[in-house]
């Protein structure tokens, strides 16, 4: 089906998430009760009750081409699970996700061709060099070693990475440098949908600034669809066209920075900040962890 044909059926968004839900099940270990016979204790020991944790709860969102969509939430609020559902690594239990009109479950190969992701953990073969890791990643997308090396060098230099260190083993590089290589890995493939899952968490201020400036450049130059999850209010405010606040797997607010701020009354005459909005809506600090 061509893009034109699809447009007749439904408007094509870069990313369209509709009523997605994802549950995880884990074994619940109950404390052994006192005063039980041996066989009762044994039975209780092996009795495994399952509990269901709703990681993503009925989430819908739409991101247009050239937009950066931010998702703000505490640790464990469901941000990364949602990103994994979009990136075909988790199968949603309910709802649907479309990337440029293609369903991520039924047309996953097609979706994977236009998408890439940067996660909070850099995730590389630590004993291989940046070059070896990047060439491996590029080959999976049908890019030759020569082209990959040239492009990776360009991206890394723009990110302020010393290209002379490209042949060093990854385990010798700092966290900030590893994260820059992770960004280069994602951009080597020129993705139309870029999923940035806390790309600047744990980076030093200089590296953080380099990465944020680069994200702005990508938006300007490529008109890609970008989803950014973050803890950093200033980062969200600087980069995102639209922001959703996620709490216990649910979106509890969505809008532009101005729209969100307008939802909270100003404090002592000073205008509310995004952090005030987050605390007012979730009742917790962004650094808190959810159960």
């Amino acid at each position: 089906m061509s893009i034109e044909e699809k447009e007749v059926e439904q408007p094509i968004h870069g990313l369209s998430v509709r009523e997605v839900t994802k549950d995880f099940h884990r074994t619940k270990r109950t404390k052994l009760a006192e005063n039980l016979h041996f066989y009762q204790r044994l039975r209780q020991f092996f009795k495994r009750e399952k509990e269901t944790i709703r990681a993503v709860d009925n989430i819908s969102l739409e991101v247009g081409i050239g937009e950066i969509y931010g998702i703000l939430g505490a640790n464990g609020s469901g941000k990364s699970t949602l990103i994994r559902c979009i990136s075909t690594l988790l199968l949603p239990d309910a709802g649907s996700i479309h990337v440029f009109g293609d369903n991520v479950v039924t047309e996953s190969l097609k979706v994977r061709q236009v998408m890439n992701r940067v996660s909070v953990e850099a995730s590389f073969f630590k004993r291989l060099s940046s070059t070896e890791n990047l060439i491996y990643a590029a080959r999976l997308y049908g890019i030759s070693a020569e082209a990959a090396e040239k492009k990776a060098r360009e991206i890394l230099e723009r990110l302020g990475f010393n290209a002379a260190r490209m042949d060093e083993e990854m385990e010798n590089l700092s966290r900030g440098m590893q994260q820059k290589v992770a960004i280069a890995r994602a951009l080597l493939t020129s993705p139309m949908l870029l999923l940035l899952d806390e790309p600047t968490t744990g980076l030093d201020p200089k590296s953080k600034r380099d990465v944020q400036a680069f994200i702005e450049d990508i938006r300007r130059e490529r008109h890609a669809v970008i989803v950014l999850t973050t803890h950093d209010m200033a980062e969200a405010e600087r980069l995102c066209d639209k922001i959703a606040i996620i709490d216990k797997g649910r979106f509890i607010a969505e809008g532009t920075v101005q729209e969100l701020i307008a939802r909270v009354p100003s404090l002592n005459g000073a205008p509310a900040t995004l952090e005030d909005v987050f605390i007012a809506l979730t009742g917790k600090d962004i650094g808190d962890e959810e159960e």
Partner: protein, 268 residues
């Protein structure tokens, strides 16, 4: 045709990556290689002074084929375990490649690496066993054909073994070891399958290692031609044709399960 070329190029990514990792862990490779030599020596020496030179070679072939099988199974399973430890498996699974390309690439590396290491151990054996190991009468062509045809079946088994570390990197490797041990028991690695209890013997008929060993032993001990081993080779081919799609199907089910319950996350 274009797709086939692209997928072949992509599967090379796994071979190249694994050889790069092998270079980085060279000191460990030397250690593992030394272990393979010691293992083959230990088994072969059982027959020195007790049996004929053919008996010594019989056991050494068993040790070498067992070593080859172990390397193959472990490398395929390790390819998944390693990626889960490093956290790269999510990126590999996100790449726009067919799973067949991913797994065939890993299996091809395992076969190449297994052949290289086993070949080196075989080349060293005459230094220790002297006249007991006479490689001059071996039919190398029959051996090469046997290894090539049997590799198909071993890829199928490797694919099924790779599902265990996908589900659990901690316990998965041990589960792969169980498959290896079963093959060791039923395939006549160090003894003829006729000595197995009768109820176990049917299992040895479906093990590709049984026919691989028979043909390799015939080629090395009796200079057997490819024609004389046609029966074994045909059976190996049939087992391979059944095991490869079966292996992919089993892996596909495992991948679907892992994506449903969230097992692809970094572990370790």
């Amino acid at each position: 045709m274009l797709n086939l070329v692209r997928e072949t190029v992509v599967s090379y990514a796994f071979i190249e990556r694994n050889f790069n990792l092998l270079k980085r862990y060279l000191s460990w490779e030397i250690l593992f290689f030394s272990y393979s030599i010691v293992n083959a020596l230990t088994i072969g020496l059982i027959m020195v002074g007790r049996g004929s030179s053919d008996d010594v070679l019989y056991l050494v072939i068993g040790a070498l084929i067992w070593g080859f099988l172990s390397i193959m199974m472990r490398e395929v399973s390790d390819a998944i375990t390693w990626e889960r430890w490093e956290g790269t498996i999510e990126y590999t699974f996100m790449a726009p490649i067919h799973r067949i390309t991913h797994l065939v690439g890993s299996c091809l590396f395992a076969i190449l690496y297994g052949l290289l290491r086993t070949g080196l151990v075989l080349a060293i054996m005459p230094l220790f066993f002297g006249e007991h190991i006479n490689l001059g009468r071996a039919n190398w062509f029959t051996m090469a054909i046997t290894v090539t045809v049997s590799s198909l079946s071993f890829i199928g088994i490797g694919l099924m073994a790779a599902i265990f570390p996908l589900l659990s990197p901690e316990k998965g490797q041990a589960a792969t070891g169980i498959i290896q041990s079963l093959l060791l028991l039923i395939s006549g690695i160090y003894y003829e399958i006729e000595v197995l209890p009768e109820w176990l013997q049917p299992l040895s008929w479906i093990s590709p290692a049984t026919y691989t060993l028979k043909s390799i032993r015939a080629a090395m001990l009796e200079n057997a031609s490819v024609e004389s081993q046609a029966g074994n080779l045909f059976l190996l081919l049939i087992i391979g044709i059944v095991l490869i799609p079966l292996g992919f199907w089993v892996f596909h089910l495992g991948e679907k399960y892992a994506k449903r319950v969230g097992r692809l996350k970094r572990s370790g």
